[in-house]
Point group: C3
């Protein structure tokens, strides 16, 4: 009972994602399909990469993740399948797998060139349906990875925001804003705690746009409604929130904005 997940920037108005599912079910009828999200902003490779990286650990070993955020569709960018010690990834060679692969071991990576594992004719604008969906389905149905094509060699990387650490401050960045308006940053909770050392959590101060927060707590409900709050969210990253409100709106901070962390 294989699982295939889909992550795309196709949105939910059109039938693009459904067409991928139709193709998959025609090749691997018993497969379980899960949408990670189809609302990655159009052509936002980093957004797709972070969504996959956030969600991957929740799935059981053997899962196949298909990611189609693919501004280079129809050009010479390579179509890939990549096996790690835990899952298989299918999608374009544009860096969309880089954050997850940075914390996995890459066991095998192939370029999808086997015409027997495509849907012909391959539309030059819709490799999700004609190339990536069939590849995932054949893998789910038991085709070995090396049957899909030759070894890929080095993969395209991705320029991912990284916090800058200094002894007296960290410059972190807003990676994305979630539905509740929480600011999700590029600062891992474990790195923050390591930097903090023996200083108490109450001593940390955060600045995001016009919001100031004093102290790191366990969850946004730990402060009274209406107060801003800093905590390590469910993806293990520092988040700035506003209990019962919208931190993004209140702070004016946009994606990419600096979140300054100091001790005092």
């Amino acid at each position: 009972m294989a699982i295939i997940t889909l992550t795309t920037d196709f949105g939910c108005e059109d039938t693009f994602a459904a067409q991928m599912k139709g193709v998959i079910l025609g090749i691997a009828p018993g497969v379980t399909l899960v949408d990670l999200t189809h609302n990655i902003p159009p052509q936002d490779i980093l957004g797709g990469a972070l969504a996959l990286d956030d969600a991957a650990d929740a799935f059981p070993p053997g899962v196949i993740h298909v990611v189609v955020v693919d501004p280079g569709v129809g050009t010479s960018r390579r179509p890939l399948a990549v096996a790690t010690e835990r899952e298989t990834l299918v999608g374009p060679d544009n860096g969309v797998f880089a954050p997850l692969l940075a914390r996995r071991r890459t066991m095998q990576a192939v370029v999808l060139v086997n015409p027997a594992c495509r849907r012909e004719p391959v539309s030059p604008t819709f490799h999700g349906r004609d190339l990536f969906a069939p590849a995932a389905a054949y893998l789910a149905a038991g085709t070995p990875l090396h049957d899909l094509g030759p070894p890929a060699g080095g993969l395209v990387g991705l320029d991912t925001p990284q916090p800058r650490f200094a002894p007296d401050a960290i410059e972190a960045h807003v990676l994305r804003i979630d539905r509740f308006g929480n600011l999700v940053t590029d600062l891992r909770g474990e790195d923050l705690i390591r930097w903090l050392g023996s200083a108490p959590r109450k001593s940390i101060a955060f600045e995001a746009g016009s919001l100031r927060v004093q102290g790191l707590v366990l969850t946004y409900a730990a402060v009274p409604p209406g107060e801003s709050v800093a905590y390590v969210g469910s993806s293990g990253r520092l988040e700035i929130g506003l209990h019962g409100g919208n931190a993004a709106a209140a702070s004016g901070a946009l994606r990419g904005a600096v979140v300054r962390v100091t001790r005092r």
Copy 2:
């Protein structure tokens, strides 16, 4: 072949709902997953409660409904599993099950404290993934309810709008506005008919914001396009619509607005 449904305020941009599914499929691989909706307004317990109450009767007996509208996540509010004569409910003890339980028999309710039925470490901000999803999955896989934790005793209630009945008028309220702009009210069709007695349906008048409607009909298509219309909708509640238009926009009535019902 168990069914697990998910109702959350997570939206469809992030991967939160998908992470819950990944956890469930890791524990109960053959389960059928159905999204009720992930678009409950953030932290709107009443909205989540009504969505569940509206949808529950369409599902076969034995279904497991997980509802995560959980402003108190990470605080002392209790995590629950509740068995009725028809389904099992999993979610926070904040009243989100109250409207459905008001018309069911509660057979058993337990507090989810068994560490063997959690995903460790439990994130203080994402009990949906680490606590409610595993509980539902273990239930689907055959774990008896009483293995999840001790009896819960009394549950938290919910202050739900109720119509006020007088001999010459009913004061009902807009519970929610659906996608078509129809005003869905807290007045049950059967209660309206009982109040009406032997008076003809044509004699009822409705006022919602600036809209006036004369007569109760079977469906909005029973009046000419452009006319406002009152009927009992698919959830058994009085609705005010506008044939081919948007009653909410035309009336100016918002959620909570009074819908006045009189006979003349």
Copy 3:
């Protein structure tokens, strides 16, 4: 392992689509459910018809497509099930199947009147749940089509935009705008190529609102970022796009707008 797809204008805020799934799973527990889309604009029969027509060929033979875009629900419009050489269609007799049926053979069409294949009582406002979902589920579970009701005879048609061909120009139309802002037209790629004859693809000029495009290419990535582009999209239709931008916003062209095609 039957597949049932759902296409509706119910949106994703309410539980309407989920209720249909609950009913289906109660009758046909092992069925695979796929959402084509629930975001057809309210009561937009043409939009629903095009979504089905775009997606149908991606699904394997034997699939059952349920389409509920049904402004006439509760009136005398007939509920249908239609078998083609490839799939079965279930929905209202309002033309929503017409574009797909125009390129299929209709093998059998029946009116859904068998009370044993409904969910009683049938809500006059929600045939999706009480009439179409059960019909599809009984078909998936093996009930023969002719058990659902008597032959339907002629079906309601649909007035679909069609390009007008002249020797020196084609007047095409914007059928819909996709999530990327691409203008999807009613001009089939094969008809455009036939009209073009031996003239080179570079010689075709396109006008859509304020956008001018010279030449037909294979994919939007074939032009530099910021340039407008004309190509045959994944549904086989001419599309006008803007590489890295939004052609609909840039052109000002709305649905129904003329796209003028000339040679020079």
